[in-house]
Symmetry: C2
Subunit: 367 residues, 2 copies
Amino acid sequence: MRSKLTIQDVARLAGVSKATVSRVINQKTNVNPDTRERVLRVINEKGFVPSITASGLAGKKSRLIGVLAPPFTSPFVPEIMRGVAEVMEQSAYEMVLYSINPQHRHGDALDRIIGMRLTAGLLVILPGQLSRHLTDMHDHGLPIVVIDDQGPFIDLPWIGIDNRNSAYQATRHLIKLGHRRIAHLEGPTSHRCTAERYEGYVQALLEANITPDPRLVVQGEFLVEGGRACGETLFSMSSRERPTAIFSANDQMAFGLMEVAAERGICIPDDIAIVGFDDMPLSAYIRPTLTTVRQPFYEMGRVAIELLLCFIDSAFSTGEKAREWDIPLSLLSAIRGGMHEPIRYQLPTRLIVRESCGAKQPLPLSG
Amino acid sequence: MRSKLTIQDVARLAGVSKATVSRVINQKTNVNPDTRERVLRVINEKGFVPSITASGLAGKKSRLIGVLAPPFTSPFVPEIMRGVAEVMEQSAYEMVLYSINPQHRHGDALDRIIGMRLTAGLLVILPGQLSRHLTDMHDHGLPIVVIDDQGPFIDLPWIGIDNRNSAYQATRHLIKLGHRRIAHLEGPTSHRCTAERYEGYVQALLEANITPDPRLVVQGEFLVEGGRACGETLFSMSSRERPTAIFSANDQMAFGLMEVAAERGICIPDDIAIVGFDDMPLSAYIRPTLTTVRQPFYEMGRVAIELLLCFIDSAFSTGEKAREWDIPLSLLSAIRGGMHEPIRYQLPTRLIVRESCGAKQPLPLSG
DNA sequence: CTGTTAGCGCATTCAT
DNA sequence: ATGAATGCGCTAACAG
């Protein structure tokens, strides 16, 4: 193994000064092409890798990106992280991972993280409510991008989906299949997406001249158990009142619903049609397979981290096009132009039609 | 947001020297309790957090732990990471995450990671074969702990399970249920665990005076698709030759098996009993629920990171150029507790009995 | 016990 | 276009 080299060593071997080596490393233009070549050869031959620590200290900028995420066992986190990791690999940054339990207060942890000034920016993946700390940090210049399910109502650069419209499409699908008595499993009120998905549901009903029936809207906590409870309630209704279809605000609750249905001998989709939300890995495997709204988690991760790197770069350099991202021009100009409207990017969802709703084949979402 | 403080500021506010502040921060004992108290008060009041970057540079030791992991979408990674993250939260270290695609050659990535000397140690989660780089690094003093499925045959501190015995127990369970024609779905030969699990399978057969039938051993690549192919093969056998039970070397292939069974109207467990390996989240939900060997992924993560922190601490506490690569042999053996045998922890697995094997209730593993 | 001094490896002025 | 000098925030040696 090569023993560790410093810029000093490279400078000596290449017959130049440390400053010149530093210039080459940092892609400065004011270097003689000849000299550059010589330095680069030494660097490659010896396998020199600059110390990220020292350069961070000296340059007053870090090459680490902090990622705050809930425990990986949350069903959607792995997919988001896959997108994040792929982009990070291509970048010059490394990722520092902070696992945050959303149940606990994370103010302290945040303080520690920010206070350390270890990272050049923060990607925050947080379901549920957001800490006020984050807005403070952002206002003071720390680049932050948030992925959450709260909808575009926060004051930070935000990546998410259009919950309202997605729910609208899901419900509309059921209506187009002929259902009139459509129930809705809400999530907890603490999540803003709960209200949005509910609104989309109601909107679809109204458009079809169906009067929303409050008895058909029941609430769970986004967990299987809550779905079970709701199932017990709904399936106990008299056959005249019982819904013929259910739109669940997430897949997990739909699973609970399906369990209860199986136990009671209620056939899906013949007796009851079900549509979920999220498209978890399990949803394609459970029997019957679950029709659901797919959230583009992988893309959300990619876009979020790309946006964050954008911020960081433009914070460092004076906005010269540092890289080419597939981010809409409007967004880029917003970033660079220093506009004061918050940046919000809603990624498109897609209705994945499977067995649980009784449709024999996928229908176009916009149909 | 508090503006950034340095040790300098704290020193001034507390009326002591920078060195003293540093001593307090680093829990040195040679500080007057009174002085310590005063410094700590200032630190807390002002919310001072030392720069991990600067201290890393000056102290020649990093407070970052590198974690090399395959993409999070690998089914077992999230659980391992949960264990890792929980331990990290309690420690003074931060985690730098490197996502490594096991398909690609990861030598380059490793070089970059190691060369950067960013991290004080490495936790490596790698299915499949291990890079030789890692052993080199370790021999030169970089603390490393490996979690993999290769069995205890590598020269690095290792956390894993007893594949052979686990497979033995799984097969034995099927035998105790009365099965004599038991097939085995192997994994790819590139994984050492494949051979081990096969050995455990054969051993159980032999102990029960069952002659292993080579036609009943088929191979997949640990993926659902491979399981499907194996299913086609096995279920096409004549009723006299067809196995009555199958032990699959992992759950994913068992899923493929179950799909084919469903398509052919073969009933699990009445027509065929199935046991898997891993206990993936899906395994408890798929119908029928899958009997399988549970790998303690969460615990593996915990134990691995704890062991690694142990190494790192003991490397630091000996004080002598602990982070240099050309570490004295004496120190290396000290890290290993003076023993020269490599450190290997095999965590216990557990057979989770569910519906797919036909047993009506859990049987004790040791029964 | 505590203050002083000297770097850690690099980026960034200044000079030239 | 290049080299010399200064300092990032902190730890570690050495004195007192």
